[in-house]
Amino acid sequence: MAQWSMVAVLIGVITARLTANVVIGWMISVGAIIVASIFLGRAVVRRVGPYEIARRTDASLGLHAQLATALELTDASTLGELAELQIQRASRTVLAIIPSASIPLLPRDPVWRRTARANLTATTVSLFAAVLVGVWPSAATNPLEDTEPTLVLADARTPSERPAGEPTPLGQAQALSPGGDAIEARTNRPGDTGTSSSGLIGQREDQALPRSREHQGDASRAAPDAASHATTAAQRGEALQKLGDALRQAQASRAAGESLRRGDTERAADQLNQLADQITRLPPSERETLAEAFKQAGAQTSSGDRQVSEAAKEAAQALSQYKTSDARDAIRREASAVRQAGDANAAERDRDIRAQDLARSGQTSLPERGDSSGEAAGGEQGSASGDQPRDATGQPGQNGQAGQGAQGRDGSVNEGSLSNLEQQLRSGGLDSDGTGSVQGSGAGRGIGSTSPGPATRLDAQSVPVTVQAQEGDGPSTWRPPRPDTPLVAPPPAPAVASGPASNSPVGAGPDINAVPREYTEAVRQYFLPESAPPAGPGAAASGLRP
């Protein structure tokens, strides 16, 4: 009853907070204080009888219900022999009991303190609710409304100008990658190619600033995302470690826990999947241990990886309730969450390594990378456009003059193409060695433009196209056959070449029922057997069904 009352009070408090109604909040506050007083009063006036004392003493000292049974026997009218023995033994036990070791008999604390301790939960919840409602008016406002927007700008200094310990530009670029406009503002300009790093930055700093201001809104929006992005990686790793520690407590999940401890998320996910498959074979005690491990994991990883935490909690709940199928699904979800978290951490680690390599080399140009998805495409593109001059923005270098982009070998692209860096960082990026794909040789060769122009974010330009056309009747009224259209005469079929039948397109013609001429007779015989000639050696030799 007390617990349900406390739950009701808490629900009321939460409702008051959500509805922002101060009156309801104060009413609930007063109600909580009244409820707390009632329970405290009931606890004070409650009496503890000798039977309860005997039972609690038996339970606390492990006396196998000896005292309580003997106490009951003393009330019996007739006693058997064993009952007398039991009473004698209980009497000796009572004399041997140390009062301070027996909690309920002679506690040293005063009554009010014992009762308060006994009702600690109810009292605490009530006081918590009262305090929560008491500070309601000050907490009713939305804290997000008073928060100053945070503006994060990219640092235009070179790595050599930056003090030791300060985050690298790529670190900033990585942090700002969700918004990405700061990077774009200071780098993505045609004509920046072919200049030195310092010159590049020094030349463009004043030009980049207005655009940066122009995109302050975007940057401020990007800042919380970047912060959360940066903290998520660390928290995710910590959550996986905590999950591993928790899983190691159970025998069934110890292998997965060890794998997580070593950072081998793939193996851990596989082992969790195996555990899910074998969940029905676990004895009840092991199930309980496993449920406790998952419960602990869910509690400890709640601030790290929400997906991992929720799957762990669901697994713990299903295991404790002996819902085998639910437990199996939850553990599989946990395995999937572990695998995703591991992949995400690996990708971010890869990005960091590339960023550090780039910062160490002091380049403003970026080696063209080739990851699993972009390698082939980049290489093909590079080889296809190898002879075509391109500037930094990827435009055909017709107006370029001095852009060198000579790092095209080993896959390097034009210098100063930080917009490509941004794209690559977003797409997951750069190789750890930064060399990129050799298939990208030739990309970026050409002459870029030195004339400053407006920054273009994408390497594409629109080209107006003029089409000469004349309005009038079409050359044909034929439509593809549809169920609701009347039949019209199909256009004449193209002449079939006298080559093998496999050369002729099958099913690609206007008539989907078209049959190659040499198969017409066989098809007719197949569908119209009564008109088929008697099967003979020739038919058998043709391989066709009669």
Partner: protein, 344 residues
């Protein structure tokens, strides 16, 4: 018999008798049976509580050997019936035959069957037809058999130890719930460990065969059965037993979600009786004069596992009755006040 125990000075004798007989039975059976501690304790519980025991295990684990050793250690009348599909009820209970009396007149005379013994080994009991199985119902419940409207009392103590094989189900007739409930305890005979198997092989392949010496007689067993019933038990422990039995019923308000999910029918009141009596034996074996919660928990599996009927969902999820009992015992609280009215 019980009145003898109320005489001053005899209580220690009874307790000494209990200690001597229980230790002697275990020691004697140990000479031919290796391991199987729980099985031996369960059989002893059945013997001292006058409860029938169902032994379940794969062939070759020594079930029959255990029963024979137990009978030898007790110096009791022992008979064995191998249950087969063509076994008839009269083959167990006995029948009336025509015989000449001393005066030369032919009359019907009752010829007792093998059920008239102190220890009856019903080997592979699930191989007989339900009709023959039912012939044991009256004998197990009321210690008597009725033939031609005449009830014949069975000798005391009377105990049925039945065995069945859980694997070979073809050509068998599973025991009906009514007959299963007559068995006070169901004991699972597990496979021996490596050390136990080594000892068994060494014991059974030598040129000497151990002999079992009787350590107790039928009257002494009856005295011990009476002593067991005198073991005091607190009301709160009895309340715990009642809540444990009720907790196996899915339609009860206090049933756990696990029971509601997997149990079709719960245990009968006989389960409560078996729990308490087994708890008393365990308490005395542990050297205590009263029954504690631990004794009841210890007896829960052997007293409840054959009385729970699981549903299809449990079968699909691979949940056994032992898992249900384990979960129930773990979740059932012991500190609820059975006598709230007397709390002050």
């Amino acid at each position: 018999m019980a009145s003898n125990y109320s005489r001053p000075g005899t209580r220690e004798t009874d307790l000494d008798l209990f200690g001597r007989v229980s230790a002697g039975i275990i020691a004697e059976v140990r000479r031919v049976i290796v391991g199987q501690d729980e099985v031996l304790n369960g059989a002893l519980v059945g013997l001292l509580t006058s409860g029938h025991v169902l032994l379940e295990g794969v062939p070759g684990l020594g079930k029959t050997r255990l029963v024979r050793a137990l009978a030898s250690a007790l110096d009791l009348a022992y008979s064995r019936v191998q249950f087969t599909p063509d076994l008839m009820p009269a083959d167990i209970t006995g029948t009336n035959i025509i015989a000449d009396d001393p005066s030369g007149i032919r009359r019907f005379r009752f010829e007792p069957g093998p059920v008239f013994a102190n220890l009856l080994l019903a080997d592979e009991v699930n191989r007989a037809t339900p009709k023959t199985q039912s012939a044991l119902l009256e004998a197990m419940a009321e210690s008597q058999v009725t033939v031609a409207n005449i009830a014949h009392r069975l000798p005391e103590p009377f105990m049925v130890l039945a065995t069945q094989n859980p694997l070979e189900m073809e050509g068998t007739y599973p025991l009906p719930e009514a007959q299963l409930d007559r068995f006070a305890y169901k004991i699972l005979v597990t496979f021996p460990t490596l050390e136990e198997l080594n000892a068994i092989l060494d014991l059974t392949t030598g040129d000497t065969s151990p002999t079992v010496t009787p350590v107790a007689s039928a009257p002494e067993i009856l005295r011990l059965q009476s002593l067991i019933r005198q073991v005091p038990m607190g009301q709160h422990v009895r309340d715990y037993v009642a809540r444990l039995v009720l907790g196996t019923h899915p339609d009860q308000r206090d049933a756990t979600r696990f029971v509601k999910q997997y149990v079709r029918f719960g245990a009968s009141p006989r389960a409560g009786q078996a729990l308490i009596l087994a708890g008393k034996v365990y308490a005395l074996l542990d050297g205590r004069y009263n029954v504690g919660f631990e004794d009841i928990r210890r007896a829960a599996h052997i007293a409840l596992r054959h009385r729970l009927l699981l549903n299809f969902e449990a079968e699909a999820d691979g949940i056994s009755t032992d898992a249900v009992i384990e979960q129930l015992v773990m979740t059932l609280r012991t500190d609820e006040m059975a006598d709230r009215g007397r709390a002050s």
